[in-house]
Amino acid sequence: MPNVIDCTKLSFRYNGVHALKDFSLSVKQGEVVALLGPNGAGKTTSIRVLNGLLTPESGAINVLGFDPRQDGAKIRAQTGVLTETPALYERLTARQNLSFFGSLSGMSKQEVDDRSKTLLDVFNLQQRSGDRVETFSKGMKQRLALVRALLHDPELLFLDEPTSDLDPEAAKQVQDLILEVSGHENRTVILCTHRLYEAEQLCDRVAIMKNGRVAAAGTLDELRAHVFPMLQVNFRTTGKADAELAGILSQMPGANEVKVQGDGEICLVVDSEDRIPAMVNALVNARAAIRAVEPRRATLEDIYLRLQHAGEEKL
């Protein structure tokens, strides 16, 4: 698949402060990529730069085959953006909003009507389409904003904190809809979020941002292998003293940081899952009764926190 986004060492400053600094990212067509990072990490700024709203001071950039610095309008014709706030015209009805944005996207009236009807049905807003947006709940506004972003069937979809302001039920609805729209085979989705679970559930790859740059990017397994190359394993045993079993385990190849947690629980890290069968054998030979062996893989949260509090690494 070709890359739809390719940017290298982009920099942008607001009032002299770097919002992006050496920001580099490549995204292939059809991928769903999460941009993770704390407030001020540069997620929203990167979306603005990629769509040609802000001009980077330096760096190379290509989005859908165009440079946003010269061809922002051509890029925006093929992208859809769900902004952090729904940013809808509250005094207009849902249909008037869609008609306005559809027209600016180059759609004919008939196309806007047909597509609006389909999407409003899917997003369960058809019955309220003639009502002013100011009468909508937050969840409805967010759904309508998503309809607006999808109206012209964009190749590249940017979703900026799509569920940050929603209650759990409305957030779940929006997440389900995102899962549905990202299933479109050629559509690429960039999802900016604080919700790590959301990124884990919805995205193929994750780019973790820190201080305006991508600190690490890859699939969860790639990030895990890079940031947490060791695997934590808990052994729960009975029948033998913990200290004795810990001593046996610490002699095994690949075992590190062996700790007795007490009450028959021993915790260690290994360099590979393949080491575990030999360790189980050693414990069985020592006549320990093994109740459970629990390899614990690093979660996205572990990786995220490690990267935010440590140096930067690039995959």
């Binding site: 925006r76 902004t83 509250e90 005094r91």
Partner: protein, 277 residues
């Protein structure tokens, strides 16, 4: 630039302004005062009171001064032998003329402030900036949204004013006396220039202030130009004859073009987002 985008943006802005009750009330009160209430007061109410029109003129030092200093070219439109007629011509035909310009200016600055700074205040500007519309589409669309209704309101207001000024005091004049020749350049030459100044100033200011009120209050200061014209005329310094109006209009157009140039230069997506140009 795509004209379809320009008119789509203009139409949306106008629908939004119409839905804003406060803006609409503010915009309708001024035309109502200048176009309907004041003409009716001078043509129906005052004549029905037991006041001699020559007393109205002679009792006010400002009005008397205004009449005494009036150039011959303008005095020819006043028949001093007919007190009621002359009072109406002086008040509604000459003295009120500069104030008539306030109406389109208010429309222009209100809609433009609502359209540029108002969008940023309501945070809708970002979704608009993410559309394929170019900077030129956005600027011309929003300028169109402000300019067309402002000029139209001036022209329609002028038509209604003409109707009232000829019908209401018909018993005194017994003829169609309005518009005076001085009104044509005022409405069709000076008004569009002032509207252009008001909008250009709002565009420049809107890139720097964060909300509607800030933009509106600053850009509405263009009304000072009208007040200057009014006081200039009242103090006998500057009478709005056809010649003076043509020159004034040309000066206003030059100012408008220079400001429009700076407005166009400073207008870009980044400035609208970050408040810096």
């Amino acid at each position: 630039m795509k004209w379809k985008n320009v008119f789509t943006i203009a139409k949306k802005d106008w629908i939004e302004v119409r839905q804003n009750k406060y803006a609409m009330v503010a915009m309708l009160i001024v035309p109502a005062i200048f176009v309907i209430i004041m003409p009716l007061v001078f043509t129906l109410l005052i004549p029905s009171l037991d006041v001699a029109p020559q007393d109205v003129i002679s009792s006010d030092a400002d009005i008397q001064f205004f009449v005494e200093r009036m150039p011959l070219a303008l005095r020819q439109y006043i028949d001093f032998g007919k007190p009621m007629e002359s009072m109406i011509v002086i008040m509604l035909g000459f003295m009120l003329a500069p104030m008539f310009l306030i109406m389109p200016l208010m429309f222009a600055t209100t809609i433009a402030a609502e359209s540029f700074a108002g969008e940023r205040e309501r945070k809708t500007i970002e979704s608009l900036l993410y559309t394929p519309a170019t900077d030129a589409d956005l600027l011309i669309g929003k300028v169109t949204a402000s300019a067309i209704p402002s000029i139209l309101v001036a022209w329609i207001g002028f038509a209604v004013y003409t109707l009232i000024l000829n019908l209401a005091p018909y018993r005194f004049f017994q003829r169609i006396w309005f518009p005076l020749p001085t009104w044509w350049p005022l409405i069709f030459w000076i008004t569009p220039a002032l509207v252009a100044i008001g909008i250009s100033l709002t565009v420049i200011i809107s890139a720097r202030v964060q909300n509607f009120l800030g933009a509106y209050q600053t850009s509405a200061s263009v009304v000072l130009l009208v007040v200057l014209l009014f006081t200039g005329q009242m103090s006998g310094v500057l009478y709005l004859s056809v010649g003076v109006e043509m020159v004034l209009g040309a000066v206003f157009w030059i100012i408008a073009l220079v400001m429009a140039y700076f407005g166009f230069k400073t207008f870009n997506r980044g400035a609208l987002l970050t408040g810096k140009s």
